[in-house]
């Protein structure tokens, strides 16, 4: 193929991919500012900020935002406390059941989520976890275990032992070695795990709805009722709000995520 032609084909394919990925998002975002829209015009008839004031003056929606911003950071914290020591153990110790545990995390992840929540219902009724904050936290943390163990485990494993040994030879204690050599080097991987966990909690809708509705509505669960009960534009505004934290995280950690930490984590060793 002539060079110019093949380059043209590539540019065309890239444009199609851009349309495929970004098109729906832009199309939705425009709705948030549309007074009305006549088919088949490609732009709204008139622009307005009215829908934003509708969202900001609706108390139920405000509570959903608060709930989401409450659950996501707590989930990351709880998940880190539970999973990070395990991640270190997977990377640095050989212990009975190690491989079984690693595969167990994977098997737990491959059970269909909806089926899991349906199964959990019986247990949650028995333990009085239905409609409780603790119940929702359990559901959210369960969704993060695979990220919080696998990705940091790969990050810890990638820290060269020779560096740790050098620090030990220089007289540093085990704890000091961990905090001034191992942890800083594994930090980008842990950061990626934290972001994936945050997004997973922020995104979780089915389980939260089953366990928390209608007492505890988060932004994604509120989205379900928004789509059915409000004008299209209100849901569009809410979508933009819901996407803000994620996009901020994307910009902050883009380099680390694309840099292979995520990919590293998904190979059991």
């Amino acid at each position: 193929m002539p060079r110019a032609l093949s380059r043209g084909v590539v540019v065309l394919l890239a444009a199609l991919l851009a349309l495929f990925i970004i098109g729906p998002l832009l199309w939705l975002a425009m709705r948030a500012f549309a007074a009305s829209w006549t088919y088949p015009d490609l732009l709204p008839d008139a622009w307005t900020f009215r829908w934003w004031s509708v969202v900001f003056s609706d108390r139920a929606l405000g509570v959903a935002v608060q709930n989401s911003l409450f659950f996501a950071p707590i989930t990351v914290l709880v998940s880190a406390v539970i999973c990070l020591p395990a991640a270190y153990a997977f990377a640095r110790f050989e212990f009975p059941g190690r491989r079984f545990f690693l595969i167990g995390v994977f098997a737990a992840n491959s059970f269909p989520k909806m089926g899991l929540f349906v199964s959990l219902a019986a247990l949650f009724y028995a333990l009085n976890l239905m409609n409780t904050i603790l119940g929702i936290l359990v559901v959210h943390v369960l969704g993060t275990v695979v990220f919080m163990t696998w990705i940091p485990a790969a990050a810890f494993a990638a820290v060269p032992r020779s560096l740790e040994e050098a620090a030990r030879d220089a007289g540093a204690s085990k704890l000091r070695t961990f905090f001034s050599v191992t942890l800083p080097m594994a930090l980008p991987g842990i950061l990626v795990a934290a972001i994936m966990s945050f997004l997973s909690s922020f995104d979780e809708a089915q389980g939260t709805y089953l366990v928390g509705a209608p007492d505890y509505m988060t932004m994604p669960t509120q989205m379900y009722s928004l789509v059915l009960n409000y004008p299209t534009q209100v849901a569009a505004v809410f979508s933009i709000l819901l996407a803000i934290p994620s996009v901020a995280l994307l910009l902050a950690a883009h380099k680390h995520i694309v840099g292979g930490h995520l990919a590293e984590g998904f190979q059991i060793k």
């Binding site: 590539v10 219902a121 995104d203």
Partner: protein, 314 residues
């Protein structure tokens, strides 16, 4: 960006020197997430499996009392009648076929796109390469609920594609609430993860190998087919299995963008549980989906062991 991915050697985990102490400490440190999974996933799943086989006592009592159309086992002999009911239900069988077809089609498209983007980055890079990989990662950061809803609007009767076509005086089909949008939505949401895994796998193929093949006179496609893709085989298999398992059990995308019937089994599970109040049937569907997912998972585990063997860890 992705070009910065280094060709890292596979990390081989070796036990630390004092083996016995490390064993106990490692086990203790690894326990908390395992206990969490065992208690909140393993235990309920075993209970639910019992329920699906007709055991309605113990912790299953409440759910069996609330639910309708519950099949009960006689004594300790399990009954398969709940499974038999589903497998003679024409609507379920149709949805099973739809689920498998959507999974296979979407996974194929996702992997082809991911490999295409990865190969372009590996061989050409440049601005377009960076743009492609950046584009492919965007969906990772958009909550699935929003994505489904945005896609529904984009392909709807008054959506973008129909508007453009109408302005040009052409007709265009309505894809909203059809299986086409389910496939589109599944591809959209699964693309970032697969692209990250595949791209990083392709980047790790040593340039020297490619140069050697080129020097020996191999064409571009020969290099891709006989050197690059086989060497990145394990990451590609891992990406494929994860994508397939994710789509197989998906709920939000088919629920929002798909037709009422036939639709995917994730939606059926929710319907049987909430709308029809038949929890046993919901659980039966979950185990049928899990059985298919286990088949795919076996491939994943096999690929990992193969890679561990190659790197000398086993």
């Amino acid at each position: 960006m992705t070009a910065e991915v280094e060709a890292r050697p596979a990390v081989v985990v070796r036990p630390a020197a004092p083996a016995a102490a490390g064993q106990t400490r490692g086990l203790l440190m690894a326990l908390p997430p395992m206990v969490l999974i065992a208690f909140f996933i393993g235990f309920p799943v075993v209970l639910a499996f019992g329920f699906s086989l007709g055991f309605t006592g113990g912790l299953n009592r409440t759910v069996a009392l609330i639910g309708q159309n519950v099949h009960t086992a006689h004594g300790i002999v399990p009954t398969l009648s709940a499974y038999a009911e589903m497998f003679t239900n024409a609507r379920f069988l149709g949805d099973l076929v739809v689920t498998v077809v959507v999974t296979v089609v979407s996974t194929t498209v996702v992997i082809l796109l991911a490999v295409g983007i990865g190969l372009y980055l590996k061989f050409s890079g440049g601005l377009i390469g960076k743009l492609l990989s950046a584009l492919a990662v965007i969906p990772l950061f958009i909550p699935v609920v929003i994505a489904s809803w945005a896609i529904l609007g984009f392909y709807s009767a008054n959506g973008f594609l129909r508007s453009v076509a109408a302005n040009l005086g052409l007709g265009f089909p309505v894809w909203s609430y059809t299986l086409v949008t389910v496939v589109i939505g599944s591809v959209w949401t699964s693309l970032p993860f697969a692209t990250l895994l595949v791209t990083s796998g392709l980047q790790a193929v040593p340039q020297a190998m490619i140069d050697a093949a080129r020097d020996a006179g191999a064409s571009f496609w020969r290099v891709v087919g006989s050197v690059v893709v086989p060497m990145a085989g394990v990451p590609i298999i891992i990406a494929t299995t994860f994508t397939a398992i994710g789509i197989l059990g998906s709920f939000t995308v088919p629920y929002f963008t798909g037709p009422n019937s036939p639709n995917m089994l994730g939606v059926d599970m929710s319907n049987y549980f909430s709308a029809f109040n038949q929890p046993q049937q919901a659980v039966v569907i979950a185990f049928i989906v899990f059985a298919i997912a286990s088949g795919i998972a076996a491939v994943y585990v096999w690929a990992n062991f193969r890679s561990a063997k190659e790197s000398g860890a086993v």
